[in-house]
Symmetry: C2
Subunit: 365 residues, 2 copies
């Protein structure tokens, strides 16, 4: 029961090759490849791509921007374009964009003619600190997040914080949700003051941003390296995600209100720290700074807005999460104390509902 | 340029775990798994499945039989059924059927929730000696064979020759095309007498069949073990396939005449041995026994039926093959002498057309 036993001619690849750069120089990526195929979205094609040195000879596949397009239709579109553009096994795919582009473009590359090399160039904070590294590729399917995909490592990840300057506030906050998760996994609790300072540095202080991003990516890389296929230690990275994915699916897919992934995770972190407290005795004093950060920075931009009528559907969605060994019994990656993960926790529906109540109270909603 | 660098927590898996058995005992496969999901086709569900000891508690996903259904719609159907049946990462997929089922079911399993374990139970000769081992999974896409897929090894392959007894003659001949390829790769040239005797043994002499299948699977396993990702030595297994795939695509997908994969490969072997002769000096005396076998055993059941008007389209289709480093320049795995592969050969269009002419002459067509 240890996965599909994928081949790897080079032996296991645990650490991505992550490059931090001040300027998006892409041209030399194409050396030694028969052809290059950029996968990007309509926004990035307009705002970021022209500022790079990508040669005119590179092919481009443009996706509609938005998580709702991380689906089978868009995947088929990429496969069809790669075919029409004459991509071969000796070609390179370069994914330039947010998590939708790196997840979907990575999956397309990993399955086109049974796999061609790909490079990720994340252009959102969320993709830089999370989606673009770690080898998880996927599309959403049948209303379920990342239901279909493979583990496939990019041959390189290129992170240029300068592109963050043009990002809408809501996108920065979304990425910062994963930054807060990494902090919590290291035993640091994000305070409103730190959060404000770091968000400021990310958009206005490129060298400070590189330091922050380097530290942050290292947290994830360390956990991925110890467990690339997500069967053990890596599951600590799911902190906040059982609730976060359910919130995201409920609002974005079903109720059609936009709740970006990292913002759903940020709220998920609070609910799951409450659960960590009620189930495992995680100290309650660690909850308040996080709640305050969410209340002061997140709620004005994107309030949680959960009501009691949402609970049954949220619980049902948690039951569909891939982390569950059994269908419909949600599994959580919690913290037993600051920086100490407790994996495979399965609190009952009452405990989860109570945690949602408490989190809403802490948020003043 | 060495592939998508897939992770493998266990380290590389080069040899499939192949079990030869006299009786299809499947029940114990399900031990230790949260649930079992059989993927099969409408014929096998009716003819083979009832003769096994598969428990009623196992879920079943039925595909329409036929290569024309090895497509994205059928793949989506499997993904959707697995979701509806509550498959989790702790579930097992059991593919029971021919190459369409093992290729497509394997791809579905390797991508469902980023990969669940799967077992292949091939029920055709073709699937036993080729499709079910070696870790290649795929669907056809955009009119191109196996255009989309991944390398993913089954955790077990179960081969029971008894199921061959009910196979139509044309299906046996199709599988035997790959058996002849393996013989040629070992320096043996299939004569009509040997071919008749082996085909007879496969359906009426189970212990003889096991010996033949064991030898045959070993030829493939050895080449796969030396190069699982098909970047070098494994490409010898493509003998007959550049022409074979083009014939199959041309007739089955475009002109809608059924030319089973292994029969297309059998004719492809002859064309490519002619090329081996004209390009590399492969001895012409080795061509005649193969031509005679095709003429006496294959042509009465499924004549080649290529006419000069087919050449441009066949050449175009060869140019789309995944083996090509460059789009539209067909690459061939040939033989420079009996049992000695010559990989990456790129004869020109004139040489290919001439080889088609000579092969048709040898077949008396």
């Amino acid at each position: 029961m240890d996965g599909a036993g994928l081949f790897n001619a080079k032996g296991p690849r645990f650490m991505d090759d992550v490059v931090f750069t001040d300027k998006l120089s892409l041209r030399e990526l194409g050396e030694d490849y028969a052809s290059v195929h950029v996968v990007t979205d309509s926004n990035v094609a307009r705002l970021v791509l022209p500022g790079t040195d990508a040669p005119c000879s590179w092919n481009v596949v443009v996706l509609q921007a938005g998580e709702e397009n991380k689906n089978l239709d868009a995947l088929s579109h990429v496969w069809r374009e790669l075919t029409a553009q004459g991509a071969t096994r000796g070609s390179l795919v370069v994914n330039i964009g947010g998590g939708v582009v790196t997840d979907l473009g990575g999956f397309a590359a990993a399955t086109y003619q049974r796999g061609v090399d790909f490079v990720n160039v994340p252009t959102t904070l969320l993709a830089m600190v999370d989606a673009s590294t770690g080898g998880k590729t996927a599309i959403d399917f049948d209303g379920l997040k990342n239901q279909i995909g493979v583990f496939a490592a990019p041959s390189k990840v290129i992170i240029c914080p300068r592109v963050l300057a043009t990002l809408p506030r809501v996108e920065l906050l979304s990425g910062y949700g994963e930054v807060m998760k990494h902090a919590l996994l290291e035993g640091r609790t994000p305070t409103p003051r730190q959060a404000s300072a770091e968000l400021e540095a990310l958009v206005s202080n490129p060298s400070g941003a590189v330091g922050l991003l380097r530290r942050d990516v290292a947290v994830k890389q360390r956990l991925v390296a110890s467990d690339p296929r997500d069967r053990g230690a890596r599951q600590a990275l799911n902190l906040g995600h059982t609730v976060g994915h359910a919130l995201e699916a409920h609002f974005t897919l079903a109720r059609r209100k936009k709740l970006p992934h990292g913002i759903a995770v940020a709220y998920g972190l609070l609910v799951e720290l409450v659960l960590s407290h009620t189930q495992l005795g995680f100290p309650s004093c660690e909850l308040y700074p996080l709640a305050e950060t969410l209340r002061s920075l997140y709620a004005p931009v994107a309030p949680l807005g959960v009501v009691c009528e949402d609970y049954p559907e949220l619980l049902r969605l948690m039951g569909h999460d891939k982390k569950n060994a059994e269908q419909s019994r949600p599994a959580f990656s919690l913290l037993s104390s600051p920086g100490v993960p407790a994996l495979g926790q399965t609190p009952g529906a009452d405990a989860i509902s109570a945690a949602l109540d408490i989190a809403r109270d802490l948020l003043g909603e």
